[in-house]
Each structure stands twice: as structure tokens, then as C-alpha cells.
Subunit: 268 residues, 4 copies
Amino acid sequence: MTDVTGFFYPRTASGAAALIPPPPWYYSGDLLTVEYRTDPTRVADLLPAPLEPAPEDPGAVALIWADWQSCSGSREELLDPVRSQYKEAFVVVRCAFRGVTYSRCVFIWVDKDFAIARGMHQGYPKKLGSIWQTRPHAFPHASPAIGPGGVFGATLAAADRRIAEAVVTLREPSETNGFVNAHKMAHHRIYPDIAGEGDAFAELVESGASEFAAGQAWRGDAELRLYDAPTEELSRLEVHEIIGGYHRQVGVVWNGGRTLARLAPGSA
Amino acid sequence: MTDVTGFFYPRTASGAAALIPPPPWYYSGDLLTVEYRTDPTRVADLLPAPLEPAPEDPGAVALIWADWQSCSGSREELLDPVRSQYKEAFVVVRCAFRGVTYSRCVFIWVDKDFAIARGMHQGYPKKLGSIWQTRPHAFPHASPAIGPGGVFGATLAAADRRIAEAVVTLREPSETNGFVNAHKMAHHRIYPDIAGEGDAFAELVESGASEFAAGQAWRGDAELRLYDAPTEELSRLEVHEIIGGYHRQVGVVWNGGRTLARLAPGSA
Amino acid sequence: MTDVTGFFYPRTASGAAALIPPPPWYYSGDLLTVEYRTDPTRVADLLPAPLEPAPEDPGAVALIWADWQSCSGSREELLDPVRSQYKEAFVVVRCAFRGVTYSRCVFIWVDKDFAIARGMHQGYPKKLGSIWQTRPHAFPHASPAIGPGGVFGATLAAADRRIAEAVVTLREPSETNGFVNAHKMAHHRIYPDIAGEGDAFAELVESGASEFAAGQAWRGDAELRLYDAPTEELSRLEVHEIIGGYHRQVGVVWNGGRTLARLAPGSA
Amino acid sequence: MTDVTGFFYPRTASGAAALIPPPPWYYSGDLLTVEYRTDPTRVADLLPAPLEPAPEDPGAVALIWADWQSCSGSREELLDPVRSQYKEAFVVVRCAFRGVTYSRCVFIWVDKDFAIARGMHQGYPKKLGSIWQTRPHAFPHASPAIGPGGVFGATLAAADRRIAEAVVTLREPSETNGFVNAHKMAHHRIYPDIAGEGDAFAELVESGASEFAAGQAWRGDAELRLYDAPTEELSRLEVHEIIGGYHRQVGVVWNGGRTLARLAPGSA
């Protein structure tokens, strides 16, 4: 009998083929965030038991674009950057569990398979998408500056349909990068039963960065357009009021989380 | 508290955004198969407990390219074929569990996210890849015929490296499409623990087609080249002896499977 | 001094690196066509001198999806099908030159670089796009049949926006695959001046298939939806009246054309 | 008769659909360069008449990766960055024409269609490829710094085969970003005849940046691996001696060039 290893699929004797290595995972990247308010009942529709709506401002939503470079502890992916760079757009709301307020990613699109696999582990509901955001650069010939008047665009498409577009014009330094994505994440990890009856495994987990460094956040005006698509429900979170747009460069380490509640029979 | 629905991520009140619908799943496609023998210990290296090597011809391997169109029971994906068509290449070996011989997919690459998600459910260890195989067509101007002398090529790349190439020249009708992928599949379904210690959930499942229709299989000569890559272990299954090449068109329904053994503490 | 060779970029001593080989070029593929009528002035807007509107039915348009396998005379691309298979969607109108009616491609999107280069040579105004069309297959589990009641969908996206969708339901055999794309093509081949004043080279050419074989054409009902996009003008060709939908499998050889008129100073 | 407009295909009444706008074109980006020496006869093989080998160091080659954001004078592409960002890898040698030394791009791969079209205009022999290079970032969690010890990787693939890989370790500030790509470019612009006999149009042009701004260049050690591929000739420029590796951030404007010599009958 063979001992196979590897954090995730495929597992082999050496583990070399695994799609992702074990945490910790390291990230350097730029976040472009638009916060807005929608109908709180639309947010509540995305909060399964045992979660409850956040006690304050329960209709607040953050739509965040991220342009990442990431690696394992070996940092070997940085020299083969097709395995290191990826982009994502994700939708965060807040919720409450046992009196604690959490952030929660309700929709997310990425453009690499290793990012899908990491998301599966973390409970992010990932799909593939095409994600683009304007980059700052040292030379302004074809780039905005991170500073007053800097204009950043961002787009999201899935299944060949554009489903979100944002424009953020920076105005001033900000103490925060917004408040919606500021808590630990509360996510469901689910595995449908192979026999087709409910989930073989389901749990609620919390996790957050084990290390976090951030540059000066900038705040500004934001426009946000959401488009209908037959396979997406992002546009149900209609934009009622823009709270603000933000830009921030960050460095992050993620190193696991903990189970808050086991939810399925086989998960006891 | 909200009841969310959806077979897989993301789950919402309506389930419309779920990356995949519940089974049954329907497939029409062309299979190009190369069967060969490798060192049986290399196959055994890929068989974790409680699996054992197949009692006969334990070094037999099938490398299969598939060009699929697929849909749910609604068939709606067929009218939005970006959600219906995908290609895959997968490596199948045989193994034994409690005296029964099973097929087992040890490596697989696909080119769509819905295929990754379906594979996760079925226990296929899917990654994204770039997969191509020659298509037969009614007109020979730029296509082979399915018949004597028809030549089909196939290639597989992942992370911008080509890792396999095959050429199959059909010679004669065949009773089978090979023998390696002819059993029910025995797969591990795994979910690493969020706290980082082993698996939160792990089980061995069996599944197979609930319906299967197939055209005339053709057999012929095959060439197969496997290339090293730092993130892949396919080339460890070195080609010692070619058994044969096959082409067959099939229609398949997949509708779940059953648990053979629960393997992790949280899976009891 | 070196003699370099190669039909197109890059040219080298051996010609091996050229993006495309010299014609003849060979094609096997499936065409899904929707013909409709739009405002004839919108068609005329796309006909530069010395072309004139077609004398009859000048507002007729064909939007054609094609799923191709293609190769050079060596047929070597068929064994490396990433260099052989591509999809395209193209918009054809008719026009007149010196009393002869021609077809003319006014917009076209493809998904491979070799197809862009071939189009440049032929005067097709190619961009990259994401093109999908339902495939027929021997097994109906996830495929329509080419015959009465067969339903085929097709979509087109560019720059992450969906710009066209069609559904064709086949009803009966047809003598033709439509009439709009039934003439020789009259295309402009242009090369803007490097100094920025007009064209360094411009000519009007005609070309068509040097060999053409086709299966039974099928005719049926069609739906067509065109969507606005800031970088596209397809939706200006609004759908006023659907003429019909068609499906046909074809084999084609293309082997050059001839100059109808030289149009720029440097082209005399 | 209609006046159509648009710098390049497709031309329409408004010009809105043109794949690229007229110059000037604006760029902000990062260049990662490896300079090395190969057999000078292999360079000469890539220099068609009327070009001659450079008088000094004729075997010098620069392989350059570039991570670009680009736009037209309207800057509108920056807010829809799928139309603004692209990556490229290109191979530059030097040559002489009428006693003047020029740089010349002999192979180039990009990942967007607008970049192909711009290259066609400029005489760059562009193909599609998959190009990746490590990005510097303000936070070191998953990024190198631009400075001593900063390690940058870069890879190039085309047609699903990896054809080049580099690793550059920065050591010290440098006065230059290398010398091979330091001259104006001398490129052939070619258009094969539609009737299949030679070129309908061919000319030798020179062009360079109309504006150029650059940050501190850094120099360091470099590794470079070139791989054979049936459709590429980059590996013929074998690495005999590494000259050095460089990193530099630049801002560039390109605004046309001038004809040095008309070379084909139809180009007189």
C-alpha cells in the first residue's frame, strides 16, 4: 500500500504534481474596491443558516478587483510566473454568527486553476472569469498614478459576457480600504454527496490573513455598472448608493483557519 | 434564515448562479485513446490505501483525449455552447478494492471551469490544460476519416509546457475501446482540513456511466511521447510498450455513484 | 546578403518559423448561417469606393459561424491540431464592382493567430474573438442532429463582451446555404503608410474557393440578437427581418485571387 | 460612394470598429532583458537584403520581455484594460543599412490582437504567444524588489510549447538597459501578392520612440534557456555567451517612422 502525499489533487508518492502546495500562501497585489449599498434582503438571500444578517448596515457590499502575484513558501512559483500571477474579482458582504460580525465572499471569479483550488479549500465559491484592472506605473504615458486624480478602471466577464464594470477616481488618502471586507471571513465548505442526497460534508469556517501589510489607502469617487447574465446573480445586488472607491497595495499571508460549525451528517 | 440552493458553489436562494447543476449530466463526444504498459511500481505509487494494484497487467495505462459537448437535463447549455463544449485528457490505470477491479483516473486536465467542478464532485483530480485532438469530418479536405488509414493527432499542455503528444493511425474495427478504462471508476474525494491537519473529509467512491452508447470502435497503431515538467508526474509513467490506439464516438449519462469507504475522521 | 523565405512573418533562411505557409490552404468545417435584412444604408456605409451597393436586396446580411479544421498541403498541422482548429464568426454583405455582384466580409472574428494572418492576406478585417457554435454528433445525449428539429446555438464575444447570439432550428433540406455569401469575395487589402499619411498600399481584390464540396444544406427558423459594444459596429446592422437559418458541412480549398484595382499611390 | 475611415481593419463610416486607432500610441511598462552572443552567421541568416550584419559584435542578441499598459491619445483604453494591457517577448539583433547601425526585431510574440495589428504596421513579425514575467511590487510577500538581489523570471510559450525561459538576478545600477535594442528599428513591411507571386508590397522602414522616459536601469546575472519547437527558430540563436540581464521601467510614445527603401514592384 502506498502513502500518497500532496495537499490537494492529484496526490502522488512525491506530491510534486499537486495543483497547490500546503499553506502558508503568500500574496503581493493591488486591490481596487467599490463599496455600495443594496437592498439588505438581497444580501440576506445569500446567507444560509446558521448565518444571520450583519446587525449594522446589512445591505453594504464590496466589489473588489485584485491583481495578484502569489507563491508558496518555496517562492519557486515566482520564477515561473504563469503559476504565480492571477487576477480576481469578488463580492463581499457581511454577516453575523453567534454575535460576531464576519465578512463573507458570496461570488468570486479568478483566471487560474491554482486559484480555484485554493478557493475551494478556503470556501470561496470560485468560477473562472476574465478580470482586468488598470495598473499604476512609474511612468504616466499609459498609466494613472496612485494619488489625487488617478483614474482606475476594472471589468469582469464570465462565460463571454461582461457582468461588471467600475471606474474609481482617487481623491484623498484614507484610513481604511473600506469596511465590508474588514472582518474575518465566514465561509461554507461543501462537498455534495456522491449518491446525490444533500452534502456529504459541510462546515462553516472562519479564516483571515495570518500576516497583513498595506500601503497608504486612497479613497475616491466610484461608478459601478452590473449586467445581467443567465448564469450569474451579481446584478441582483443592485447598486442603490455608492459608498466609495478605494485603492490599496497589500502583502498578505494566508495560513489556514478554523471550523466554526459542522453542518452535514457526514461532517459530525 | 435563508434556504440556499445550488448543487455546487455559489449557493443562492434560486440556485441560478451555481457553477454546475445537479446530475444527471449528459455527454456526446469523441475519445482518442492510447493504451500502453509502464513499470507497474510507478502505477502502484499512485494507488493510496485502501487500493491495491490490479491483479492482472498492473502496469497498463490508458491516456485518453476527449472532445466533449455536455449539458444538464434542461439542455440549455447546448444553446450557449461556451458552457457546453470542453476538451480533456486523462490518464487511467486499474486497481483493486476488496477483490474488485476498478479503473482510476490518476491525472486529468480540462479547459473549462464547469468541468473542474464536476470533476471535484466525481473525484477526478482536475487541473486546467490546453488539450487538442484531430477531428473527423464529413469532408476530407482537412480532416481524417474514421476508418482504415485515418490519422489522428492529440496534444496536451499545462502551465505553458507541452507534456504529451500522440498519433493514432486507425487500421481496423475493434470490439473494444481498450480495457484499462473499462471498469467502474474508484476515486478518492478529499477535502483538506481548514486547520491544516490532514483531511477534514475523505472517502473512496465508485461511479460509472448510468447510460452509455457507443459507435464502432476502431483500433490502430499509436505513437506516444511524454515530456517532463516540474509540476507534472505524467512522464514518470514511461512508455515501455504500446498496446494500441483507439477511436470511438460515445454518448454518456453520469448520475452519481456510491461511497465505498469513509477514510477521514470527520467522514465517519 | 541573405535570401529569406517564408510566406508571411517572420521570414527566415528556411521559412520554418513563418506564421502561415503559402496557399493553397485546406478547410473542413461546419457553417451555421443566419441571413436577415437590415437598413440598406447601413450596408452602404460599409462599402468604400470603388464599390457600390448590390443592385438587388442591398440590405441583405449573412452572419456566419464556422467551426474549422484547416491545414497546408503538407497536412502536418492536422497532427498538431492547436495549429489546425479554429472558430470564426463573420458578417457578409453584397456589393457591386463594374457591374459584377460580389460578397464582402465587413466584420470577422477568429480565435487563432494563423487565422488572423491568413485573413490579412485575403483582405478579411480580422480581430480576435470568442466564438462558439453547437456541434452535431453521432450521439444525441448532448448534441442536436443535422435534420428536422435540430437546434443549434451560436455566440460571439470580443473584448469580454458578448456581441451576437443566434439560435437556428432546422426544418428541411435546402438547395442553398443562403445567397449573401454565394459570390466571389471583393475585399480591400490595405497597409497604412508608416509616415502616417493615408495608405502605403491599397487594392481591391477578388477571391473565392478554388475547390468547394458541400453536404446537404438544411434550412430553418432563426433568432438573432446583436448587442452594442464600444469597439464594435455589428449592432448598427440591425435585424429588420430574418430571412432564414442554415447549416451545412463543407470542404474548401483557397488558393489566391486577383487584383481588381490598385487604389493607393504606392500601389500603382 | 462611401468614405470609410479607421486606421486599420475594419474600416467603417465612423471608424469606431477599427482594431487600432492611428498613432501616436502610448506605453508604460517593465522591460526584462537578457543579452547574449550567438553565432553571427545565425544572425546574418535573419537579415534579408538590403540589410547587412552590424559591423561590431554582429552575434549579439537581446531577448526582451515586456509587460505593457498602452493606449491611444484618448486614453479610453485605460478604463477598459482588456484593451490596454498586454505582454510580449521579442528578439532583437543589430544590422546595418547604408552605413547606419539599426536594431531589428526578428521574432516577437504578443497576447492581444491590437498588439498584432500595431506590429503589422510597424513591421514587427508578430505571433500570439503566452508570455509571463515576474512583477516587482511594493510588498515583498510574493514579489522581488527592483534592486540588488531582486530575482525575476520570465517565460515564453507558443502553440502550447515553452520556447524560452530566463532568470535575471539584479546586482547593481546600470547606465544602460543593454546595447542591442538601443538603435532605431529597421523593419521590413511586407504584403504577399494575392495572386501568389512574391510580394505585392514590400519596404524597409525605420522607426523609434518619439518620446522615451526611463527609470534607473539595473544590471545583473542572467540564465537563459531556449527550447526547440517545430514552428519556431528562436533556438537556432543558441546561447554562446551571456552578456547580462537588465530590468528597467519605461514610458514610451510611438508615432510613425519613415520609409528607407521600397523593395517590391508594386511598391515603387
